[in-house]
Amino acid sequence: MSNATFEPRLVGFLCNWCSYTGADLAGTARMTYAPNVRIIRVMCSGRVDPQFVLKAFKEGADGVLISGCHLGDCHYKEGNYKALRRYKLLSKMLEQFGIEKERFRLEWVSAAEGIKFQQVCNEFTEQVRKMGPLNLSPNGGQHE
């Protein structure tokens, strides 16, 4: 499959207060951005369970984005710090599974940063597009 025509499938876990609102802003502001990111709203980036990330990859995601409020701005004080810590350990572990760091991304997008959300989506899509599909486990998953 040529990368030019490859449309990566991306999952975004967005916090309700900042990033989801930011995405909403991008939307209400009629900003166009790559439609590849499929958004799952969570209340806080701290709610993002590493299981969700693995699940997304397992289900066929070529990349996963977690996005929350800027550090210090968390609606729940410091949920985003926990997200950051998990992100760091998880991305290290994902590499052991052969999933490149570039496929797993953490971004701080505030409610006001519709433009940033637009940029993040476009950039991430382009990045993953260049890397190609994940092809997690042809012949490696459930025994046929």
């Binding site: 369970d49 590493p50 299981q51 990330v53 693995l54 699940k55 990859f57 397992k58 550090l71 410091e78 710090y81 926990k82 950051l84 810590r85 998990r86 760091k88 350990l89 998880l90 290290k92 572990m93 052991q96 599974f97 052969g98 999933i99 994940l134 092809n135 997690l136 486990s137 042809p138 012949n139 490696g140 998953g141 459930q142 025994h143």
Partner: protein
């Protein structure tokens, strides 16, 4: 009235044999078992052949206890056969349950494992670079070997499993309870893991030594510090899978002053033992400073191998991405 006795089969797949030993370890209790059942198949102990089983009618075996992961085509064939012949299949031990230690092979594939096993280990003397082949013609005759899979599977990834006896190996009382329950027909719903559905901390003596706020500033490996025999391992900075591992093992490791490695697998609510433990561990790291986070994360050696020591085949990702294995 030997006919009235339920028929029982034991089989082992990719395993160390410890689970077989766990049966023997029942000691005098095994006599009760033997008295209560007819063992119709037990390759380790009794001389039954494959054809003996094949000859039995489908469903004639009351229960098959199968241990070990599925690594070879032969094992696949055997367990599929036992499934047909048995009313109940119990995955006996961690390997059958989740893939177990052999399941760590999923970080490689057949090729890399063969290369390692037959070529590059220091003790290997194999100048002709011979590797096992599935088919060989020797003396005009074709010899076959079972095929070796790229991926290791848990039992339930190959056949339908009714119950799981967790543990590496399952402890004696869990086995006895299971056997008793089967004999008495007091069976839990199908698919149950025959151990309590809470994590180990529930019964761990060390749980009460946890500080008010559990947090870790520094990750220590067991050989790096002198372990306090009373204190919670996590509180000492040592990775203990206990919180993410179901109870019932009797704390054999912990009583030996070693942290839990997670052989009992996760609780029912958890999809992925490793991910869940990773989440818990990362959450309690005591820093909001990015550099410090990087440093601590760096100090955790081989997170995947640590968190998925017994459960890799059964995890969400199951194995390492094939195309990245070299």
């Amino acid at each position: 009235m030997s006919n009235a006795k339920p028929k029982v089969a034991f089989y082992w797949c990719a395993s160390c044999g410890g689970c077989e030993e766990s049966i023997v370890d029942l000691a005098e209790d095994i006599l009760k078992v033997v008295a209560a059942v007819d063992i119709v198949f037990w390759p380790v102990a009794l001389d039954f052949k494959k054809k003996d089983v094949e000859a039995m009618p489908d469903g004639s075996i009351a229960v098959s206890f199968i241990n070990g992961a599925i690594r070879l085509s032969e094992q696949e064939e055997m367990v599929k056969m036992l499934r047909r012949k048995s009313g109940l299949v119990v995955a006996h031990g961690s390997c059958a349950h989740m893939g177990g230690i052999p399941g760590l092979g999923n970080f490689w594939n057949k090729e890399t494992i063969f290369r390692r096993a037959y070529h590059t280990t220091p003790s290997t003397d194999n100048p002709d670079k011979v590797v096992p082949l599935e088919k060989t013609v020797y003396d005009g005759k074709e010899l076959t070997l079972p095929s070796f899979f790229d991926t290791v599977y848990s039992l339930d990834q190959v056949i339908d499993v009714d119950y799981y006896l967790p543990g590496c190996a399952p402890p004696r009382d869990l086995i006895l309870n299971a056997v008793t329950a089967i004999l008495e027909g007091k069976l839990p719903p199908k698919g149950s893991v025959l151990s309590p559905n809470k994590s180990e901390c529930d019964t761990c003596d060390r749980n009460k030594t946890k500080p008010e706020k559990l947090s870790i500033k520094e990750i220590k490996r067991t050989w790096e510090i002198i372990l306090d025999p009373e204190k919670c391992f996590l509180a000492q900075g040592v990775i203990c899978m206990g919180p993410a591992t179901r109870d019932g093992c009797g704390h054999r490791c912990i009583n030996g002053n070693m942290p839990c490695r997670g052989c009992f697998g996760p609780t029912d609510q958890v999809y992925d033992q490793g991910a869940k433990f990773l989440s818990a561990l990362a959450s309690i790291l005591d820093t909001n400073d990015e550099k410090e986070m990087d440093r601590i994360v760096q100090s955790i050696v081989d997170p995947a191998g640590t968190f998925y020591r017994f459960s890799l085949p059964k995890s969400l990702l199951g194995r390492k991405r094939m195309e990245t294995i070299k």
